[in-house]
């Protein structure tokens, strides 16, 4: 199945972030590419959400949700630029 993009993750990410983060710029820690999180490749068929860098396919962000808990992994991101 073809991946979607980070737009689709907006609702899920609002469960763990107090800001809308799909419109944030971010840097891939794998290849250094900078892009909006909305432009990442999104895999929503996995047990959780996986956002991958559109340039190098590095896993930027992983979110697994269960009843009353969520696991958030952001090892593939160097930074996210939040508008404060």
């Amino acid at each position: 199945m073809e991946p979607l993009d980070g737009n689709v993750a907006g609702g899920m990410l609002r469960e763990v972030f107090a800001l809308e983060v799909t419109a944030a710029r971010c840097r891939c820690d794998g290849c250094g590419a900078e892009a909006f999180l909305a432009e990442a490749r999104a895999y929503v068929d996995a047990p959780g959400l996986v956002l991958r860098c559109a340039s190098c396919d590095n896993a930027l962000l992983v979110l697994v949700r269960a009843e009353g808990r969520a696991w958030l992994g952001v090892r593939g991101l160097t930074w996210i630029e939040l508008r404060t």
């Binding site: 199945m1 991946p3 993009d5 737009n7 689709v8 609702g11 799909t22 068929d45």
Partner: protein
């Protein structure tokens, strides 16, 4: 206080709300628009979407995202295309009736969004039901912002919002990929068509592309080939998911 300023940017958690179907409009044999009443619905922005959650009697839940079809300030409308073997769309398209309720949350998204303050001209490029969020943008556009919608569909019968789009005359270019019709264009959207009917890079249009993944990838390449600046291009890919 700096702390207060930061807190001012924080948004309230997205609550699941109950939506009641107020009206239903058949757009094509496979697509319909749901007009919804949602208690406490905040004003949305053109291009945003909602998540819908359906819960089965045994507790199994399915979530899907659908673009908002209506302009900010108007009643919330979602336009849904039937996905064969889908978990959610058959219910929304074939079963749901006026007075029925379901859960949704939103509005969601800040990237694929256009507001009049962002300026124009607006170049909107849609594949299939990717026209839905772009229709919300067209309805939001003040009359002094030039806009062009380039819309790829299989057949004339698949055109969503056909009467409304026909009324926009030359601002809408429909191209049919699976049939030929007199006075209608046929063939896929490519660099040649965009050069002919779109705004050129010199006019610095704001560009929004929405459709299936393969469509969006092809259009993005064509736009780069034409010399459009990547930062003026916003994309949204959709497709059936097993989520």
């Amino acid at each position: 206080m700096a702390g207060a300023a930061v807190l001012g940017r924080l948004e309230a958690p997205l609550a699941w709300r109950v939506a009641t179907v107020a009206a239903v409009r058949e757009e094509t044999p496979r697509v319909r628009t749901l007009v919804l009443d949602v208690d406490g619905w905040p004003r949305h922005r053109a291009g945003q979407h909602v998540d819908i959650r359906l819960t089965a009697e045994d507790g199994y839940q399915a979530e899907r995202s659908y673009s908002v079809a209506s302009a900010p300030g108007d009643p919330l409308e979602l336009t849904v295309e039937l996905v064969e073997d889908g978990e959610v769309s058959p219910y929304l398209v074939e079963e749901l009736d006026v007075g029925d309720v379901f859960e949704l949350r939103g509005p969601i998204g800040g990237y694929f969004v256009w507001e009049p303050g962002h300026g124009g001209p607006l170049l909107l490029i849609a594949g299939g039901s990717g026209v839905v969020p772009l229709r919300a943008m067209l309805r939001t556009r003040p009359s002094d912002v030039p806009a062009r919608l380039v819309y790829s569909v299989r057949t004339l019968g698949d055109v969503i919002y056909r009467d409304e789009l026909d009324r926009l005359g030359g601002d809408v270019v429909v191209t049919l990929t699976r049939e030929q019709r007199e006075s209608r264009r046929s063939g896929r959207v490519d660099a040649e068509l965009l050069r002919e009917v779109g705004f050129g890079p010199g006019e610095a249009p704001r560009i929004f592309v929405c459709g299936p993944t393969s469509f969006v990838e092809a259009i993005a390449s064509a736009l780069v080939e034409l010399g459009h600046a990547p930062e003026r291009v916003r994309t949204e890919r959709f497709g059936p998911t097993g989520r």
